[in-house]
Amino acid sequence: MADDPLIATHTHRDIDQRGAMNTVERALSFTTGAALLFHGWRTGGLPGALEAAAGAYGVYRGAVGHCALKQALTPTPLEQQWSAEHHWPISAAITRSITINRPLDDIRTFISGPENLGPLLRWIDSVELIAPGTTRWTIRAPGGRRLHWTLVQTETAQTDKLHWKTSGTALWEHDVTVSLTPAPAGRGTQVKAIVVCKPTMGRVGYGLARAFSMFSDKALLNALQALKQQLETGEVSTNRLRPQDDDDFFYVHGSTEQVATDHATVKTGVAIEGGIH
């Protein structure tokens, strides 16, 4: 993707704003809203007030010509470009960047083996190397469930770019790219991760992916922070009192009455030679 737009770019400069409504949509919104407003006004009471409020919003939306829902369901320029280049019907992308105070080669070597990342990430149960360049990931999901996926590393033209994609059996295909560039003034290495998924169910799936990105964005931030902590300090910070306490990934305390059962589940980093410098 040469000259990629930033993921943070939400509109093309040469086209209308995302969420802009066409003439028919505006007319429909305006007239339907007006009808709801009138009917709600006549009905009265709480149901009537809610109906009138919905109608007023429809009138407002028709008048200004911008729909928040349409905007939320319209891919960004980068997502549109990705879809065109990869022949995906629709794409949803998230990104995070971080600067790690270590040489580029050290970081490339470390993350080239995704199995190194498993011990750093709180929500990952395991990362198993099942074939050269192929790893099986198991994560903890709400309700005590376990989710699995298989990542296949693929070659890239640039040595400072690493790329993985999910195997063909995944319900929602994912593509992960990590780019490494030297940070200015000797401040280490800039690491940019882009995760793109191919939602099923078209725009509805895209909307679901966007909603879920509130969590996946947080997970990506935590993952990059954990990588940075490991590579800069030799450990991953934790706030637990004892090994058996729960991680509070969502700021929820584990019970202080928990009994030690499995010290092997402690995940505060990995002992890697040269981790501390």
Binding site: T99, N101, R187, G188, K218, L221, N222, Q225, K228, Q229, E232, T233, G234, E235, V236, S237, T238, N239, R240, L241, R242, P243, D245, D248, Y251, V252, H253, T256, V266, T268, G269, A271, I276, H277
Partner: protein
């Protein structure tokens, strides 16, 4: 072990909780011998910091004895008497390597909360909410300190426990405030707030070359301490118009350096205080900015306003026009005490600084809730209640 835990706004209790253990190679376990209340804890108690959970152990200004160290800790061993800098640094990231330990990239296990609030993840702070890492605090029998080789300092000969405990937080915060102010010989420095941090800022301002310090508060006992221990000129803002007094004392120029040691729960007598209080109670904003506005308005043209009072969120009616048109410099931050601890111990050893007068109420940990109540209400002239777990 026994621990003083936060259960909800203005509700503390003593609980039995599990002892901490070494989790990371650079951890140390400390048996806490002295643990002080701090004015910034009052923001947690009052419910103004949203990322608190019932059961959180509070407290971040403390000293004790090392009982265990991880395999990655060098230069420290079991039995050492140490103080801990409560703002955690890792020592390896770029901010730590330029001595900005309070900007550490790696010490917060919950980076997403401050990333959302402040734009980037902030450092971890012991006993100071889940936004700042969710680390259990020091009002307990034992505490686990991460990156011990960076955040623990041995108490040197000639320094008493009552002096050393405040090198954990109050003394470096006050010193940082004065250092940030860029004091030049002959400067007049105004300090708002004469609690523990304010007292240390006053003393530090003289150590860094101030000719005169003006201390502002409303409690006569605290103003008296500022006068006796800090040689400060004092202003009681309930009896005196602060702005007019500062201009009167400085030939109309205003103080060269203004230091805010009060923060988000400032009190005042003017209309803006009532406005702030009403909006804060309605949760329409989080800060009461009376002191900051006064400092910015009073500061001389081209001067510096240094802020170490805690602010957490959004402040209304911020006088940006005065900052621009008077060419003011505004500096702030959590204290990077790792930068200052050796210097502060030296000043104490030479008799140039004695923070022990801050300790007005030694108490047992079991009386922790009572201690906070006295501290909050300034009962019995309580400047600092310090617990002995």
């Amino acid at each position: 072990m026994r621990a003083l835990t936060w259960q909800g706004p203005n509700k503390l209790q003593i609980d039995n909780v599990p002892d901490p253990s070494i989790l990371n190679p650079r951890d140390a376990i400390i048996r806490v011998t002295l643990s002080s209340v701090c004015g910034s804890d009052l923001h947690l108690l009052g419910g103004y910091v949203p990322a608190m959970k019932p059961g959180d152990i509070i407290g971040h200004e403390f000293m004790g004895e090392i009982v265990e160290v991880g395999p990655g800790v060098t230069g420290l061993r079991k039995g050492d008497k140490v103080i801990t800098i409560s703002i955690i640094g890792c020592g390896n990231c770029e901010p730590c390597q330029r001595s900005d330990f309070s900007c550490c990239d790696n010490s917060n296990p919950n980076p997403s909360a401050t990333d959302l609030m402040y734009g980037q993840p902030c450092c971890g702070i012991i006993g100071y909410s889940h936004a700042f890492g969710g680390y259990p605090g020091s009002h307990a029998t034992y505490i686990r300190v991460p990156f011990a080789d960076v955040n623990l300092f041995k108490v040197p000969e000639g320094v008493s426990d009552e002096q050393a405990v405040f090198v954990s937080d109050a003394a470096p915060t006050g010193y940082f405030a004065a250092d940030n102010a860029g004091i030049q010989p002959g400067d007049t420095v105004a300090v708002w707030g004469c609690g523990g941090v304010g007292q240390m800022a006053i003393c530090s301002a003289y150590l860094l070359g101030a000719e005169r310090v003006i201390a502002i508060d409303r409690f006569p006992d605290r103003l008296r301490l500022a006068q006796e221990h800090g040689k400060a000129v004092t202003i009681n803002y309930e009896k005196t118009n602060v702005h007019e007094a500062l201009l009167e004392l400085t030939g109309g120029r205003g103080p060269d350096r203004c230091i805010d040691c009060v923060g988000m729960e400032a009190h005042g007598t003017e209309i803006d205080y009532a406005y702030d209080k009403a909006k804060q109670m309605l949760r329409l904003h989080t800060e009461r900015g009376t002191v900051l506005r006064q400092a910015i308005r009073a500061c001389r043209k081209g001067g510096t306003v240094s802020v170490v009072g805690v602010y957490g969120g959004l402040l209304d009616k911020f006088p940006m026009g005065a900052i621009v048109n008077k060419a003011l410099t505004l500096k702030s931050g959590q204290q990077p005490g790792q930068r200052y601890a050796p210097t502060l111990f030296e000043h104490i050893q030479k008799g140039e600084l004695d923070p022990s007068y801050l300790l007005t109420h030694p108490m047992s940990l079991e009386d922790g809730a009572q201690g906070y109540q006295w501290f909050k209400e300034k009962t019995d002239q309580c400047l600092r209640a310090v617990f002995k777990p």
